[in-house]
Symmetry: C2
Subunit: 183 residues, 2 copies
Amino acid sequence: MADINSLMDPAPPSAATVDEDTAVALPLVDFIELLFFAYRDFVGDPDQILAPIGFGRAHHRVVHFVNRHPGMRVTDLLDILRITKQSLGRVLRELVDEGFVESRAGASDRRQRLLFPTAKGEALARQFVGLQSRRMATALEASGPDGREAVQRFLIAMIDPEDRAAVERLIERADRAARARPA
Amino acid sequence: MADINSLMDPAPPSAATVDEDTAVALPLVDFIELLFFAYRDFVGDPDQILAPIGFGRAHHRVVHFVNRHPGMRVTDLLDILRITKQSLGRVLRELVDEGFVESRAGASDRRQRLLFPTAKGEALARQFVGLQSRRMATALEASGPDGREAVQRFLIAMIDPEDRAAVERLIERADRAARARPA
DNA sequence: AATTTATGTCAGCCATGTTGACTTTTTCGT
DNA sequence: ACGAAAAAGTCAACATGGCTGACATAAATT
């Protein structure tokens, strides 16, 4: 009887679950922990795909954003990821070398390197989005009838106020571009 | 005019924001990105506190969980953090050496090392929770009248199904213990 | 008494972050 | 037209926090 008093053991004798009828509102600290666990599993999804091809989570993030916002500049990616250009450079070089991403000089400003996914990169990104969308879709359904809007407002409000507008614009622009270029 | 075509620039001429009256439901991929940005800023909060004392995010996680679940075993912490005992060991040793955490042998099973925060550790954890609670409280308010419940269901459903029960029990147990031992 | 469990530790490696310094190309401001 | 500034890339060195593998100890279980 190894973990009879484990904090993580399979099931309690007959303890009430958190979302019981009688449940009171969760303390804030519970939401902090729920977010930790939710994100832990959320970013764990792509690992199965990444491991076989010898990539890590940094590669995932780059492939995702380049695919979702094709033609973005290196600087944009740095702003999003909040890492140094040296860190990004390493990962980006590997992705370019192995044919997942390609960079072309900007038309109006030729100092810029605009990043595009290759067909291979798109395929990989689709795998990531597929996995994470499945989890996300299920969770949004579980959130209830108006849950989608509530979760949207929640997530936006979790972002630093000074970054919110930029993020909303980034996403809106990507959606518009995606509608204009239907797969 | 550096970033006139930047993806992250301050403000668009007069573009509609995402949550306009006319807005359609966001695609799933937008939620994926919102969660990324939300979490990025959420875990950035503690950095200001950590940097001066020479700790990193790994220390934050350990201090948080030990404080929130005092008396937890090393194994429990490993299950929560999903890292190896060697990785945890390094961080834990520093926290014990610098007097933030202390470990006592278990009463019933003396092989176990039960982890407790010291007064210093509690104070540090309170700082973390304070910062992150403020962000969380604001975001939950922004989520709308029934947002809290929706977000709760959302976050729980984002967790791997096989872990959900354990997480809910962990949190419920901590809440009960906290109510029994009011600060 | 033998085995298993919980923990800890050493050694080395890997992924991914950091700073600082410097270069090249191109654009912008005056 | 010239000098400053911007966008990007690169080298070197280092820090953090993951990992594997091997092994040690104490206590509990069988």
